[in-house]
């Protein structure tokens, strides 16, 4: 059962990742001005060099041919060369991935710590004043654009991961609070509390098994949210990560770089969602 689920996820993941790459390649190909290359304007280039650039661009015209050739090269470890930055895509991704990974990990850890602390305290205390206060705080962050939070983090000299955390936190808090409040109103948990069972024991023995699968699903979605938020945060905070690279690639219509980044982003998002689903399934299986 579990193996079948994992195989299904793997199949869907491969298909979606490949289609995602094709989608981004098509978008870039259809973008106005795709065939224009700024380097052709360089007065130092002779006619032969300009023709060579033109020819190289022409080869990318047929999107399916480009994509097949790309996949063939990628299978041999060659991800192509960035047109705008003039470096191998593999080197660019390898150099920038650690910073983005650190940013996302710290941001998500902060967001979830804050969300779970506030949600748990709201469910425990059951004070309407406290509940309203935490809802207002999370609601306010929900209404601030991600790019503004990035700008504010620059103004306050706060780390970029804090901006990511504040972008993800309101979404996580909303779900976590609703799930925990609902779980704490279940009859068997009310009975356990009435019988004087310790709060920690109730939490880990009775509440966590109920809410874990759904919280894991939300955690999977929050990874996708954080990846999306990394673009404005890195672009505005001047952090040389993959988010900034995606931003530069899109502006420069850098086909090889954008296709690789789209595939990477799709892969990370789908892996997070599939991982959350499989773990959630395992938790449910243990429970039953």
């Amino acid at each position: 059962m579990l193996r079948g689920r994992i195989a299904g996820h793997a199949l869907a993941l491969v298909a979606t990742v490949l289609l995602g790459g094709l989608l981004s390649a098509t978008l870039v190909r259809l973008a106005p001005g795709f065939e224009a290359d700024e380097r052709e304007l360089d007065p130092h280039l002779n006619a032969a060099s300009v023709n060579a650039l033109h020819e190289a661009r022409r080869q990318d015209r047929n999107i399916f041919r480009f994509y097949l050739a790309y996949m063939n090269r990628a299978a041999h470890g060659d991800l192509g060369r960035s047109l705008a930055l003039g470096q191998p895509v593999r080197t660019l991704l390898r150099d920038r991935a650690p910073l983005t990974l650190r940013l996302l990990t710290t941001g998500l850890a902060l967001a979830w710590t804050l969300a779970l602390t506030l949600a748990l305290s709201a469910a425990w205390l059951r004070l309407s004043v406290y509940d309203t206060m935490t809802t207002v705080i999370s609601g306010t962050f929900l209404c601030i654009p991600a790019a503004v939070l990035a700008l504010l983090s620059v103004l306050w000299n706060a780390p970029g991961s804090l901006a990511i955390a504040l972008i993800v936190f309101p979404h996580s808090y909303r779900y976590a609070r609703n799930l925990l409040v609902k779980a704490y109103s279940l009859p068997h948990i009310i009975t356990a509390r009435a019988k004087g069972l310790g709060e920690v024991r109730i939490l880990f023995w009775h509440v966590v098994p109920v809410v874990a699968p759904q919280l894991l699903a939300v955690a999977g979605v929050s990874v996708s949210m954080a990846v999306g938020a990394a673009i404005p945060v890195e672009a505005l905070c001047g952090l040389a990560g993959i988010g900034q690279l995606a931003w530069q690639a899109a502006l420069a219509r850098d086909l090889p770089l954008l296709v690789n980044i789209t595939i990477l982003v799709t892969l990370v998002t789908l892996l997070a969602n599939s991982g959350a689903d499989v773990i959630g399934h395992m938790v449910r299986g243990q429970e039953s």
């Binding site: 869907a12 979606t16 289609l19 995602g20 989608l23 981004s24 978008l27 870039v28 259809l30 973008a31 106005p32 001005g33 609601g139 306010t140 929900l142 209404c143 601030i144 654009p145 991600a146 790019a147 503004v148 700008l151 504010l152 103004l155 306050w156 996708s224 949210m225 990846v227 999306g228 938020a229 673009i231 404005p232 672009a235 505005l236 995606a246 931003w247 899109a250 502006l251 219509r253 954008l258 789209t262 982003v265 799709t266 998002t269 789908l270 969602n273």
Partner: protein
């Protein structure tokens, strides 16, 4: 409707009326430059001061609010209609159509919304007239924002397809087209309303994100995104607090939409 939701309605009505009365409240317009008063602090002549090229910030906030408040619902309408036709029809037809629609929505949903939006907008022409930039920005929001709604509608239409009244209508010989437009689509209305209201604040925030990154509405036309871009030039938060007025207004408006959305959810439930 509780008192908070009434307040939200009042706030939205007030902001919308003020933005529609921009021609009367700020007759000089959003592009007029006061070259002798660039980067001026708030004064009797310029309630929110002027920007770095001497344009009245109050006028720009009013006109920018008008653009965002009128075009975000238009983009939401476009995305809801697309979701209704694609998701609703695929769900109603079922089989391969439903699977194909689900595969397409899965593909779009596997890409983070901000990543997809920023990439797609950056690939569109950036050096265009202000009016075209407004249309491109909001059309893009509408064209890309239908996927999540389509998924919900596909599932709802799928369950309607196997409901008793649709089966009876089909057995009575009602043509498929008529069945869809007359019986299935009207039953999707509550979900469509909910999706429409959900999309508005999402699109307002998305436009703001694009504007701050320089991918939104082109100068000199104002929008909340381009107004918030001014925050980039601040050295500290307390330096020129009046520059935060567009942000406060944006938060108030989006919060009001969220409050009304909870009302919509109650109605849908």
């Amino acid at each position: 409707m509780n008192s908070w939701q009434k307040l939200a309605c009042g706030v939205l009505a007030l902001v919308l009326c003020a933005s529609l009365a921009a021609n009367w409240l700020a007759p000089a317009g959003y592009a007029k430059q006061y070259r002798e008063a660039t980067n001026a602090p708030p004064s009797h002549a310029h309630w929110l001061g002027t920007d770095e090229v001497g344009r009245d910030r109050f006028a720009r906030v009013l006109y920018g609010t008008r653009i965002s408040l009128l075009l975000a619902p238009a983009a939401a309408l476009l995305s809801t209609l697309m979701a209704a036709v694609i998701g609703g029809l695929a769900g109603y037809l079922g089989g391969i159509w439903a699977r194909m629609a689900m595969a397409v929505t899965d593909l779009f949903l596997s890409l983070p919304w901000l990543f997809l939006l920023i990439t797609a907008r950056a690939l569109m022409p950036l050096n265009v007239s202000p009016l075209v930039s407004v249309l491109v920005t909001f059309m893009l929001l509408g064209l890309l924002g239908w996927t999540a709604a389509a998924r919900v509608l596909c599932t709802t239409a799928g369950s309607l397809r196997s409901s008793d009244f649709v089966r009876q209508a089909r057995a009575a010989g009602l043509p498929g087209k008529r069945l869809f437009w007359v019986h299935v689509l009207p039953n999707l209305r509550p979900v469509l309303y909910a999706q429409f209201w959900i999309s508005i604040p999402v699109f307002i925030l998305s436009e703001a994100n694009l504007g701050i990154l320089g991918l939104g509405v082109a100068e000199p036309m104002p929008s909340w995104g381009s107004l918030l871009k001014e925050l980039e030039g601040l050295a500290s938060v307390g330096e020129e607090p009046w520059k935060f007025v567009p942000l406060i207004l944006l938060v108030v408006v989006v919060t009001s939409f969220q409050l009304l959305l909870s009302r919509q959810e109650e109605v849908t439930a």
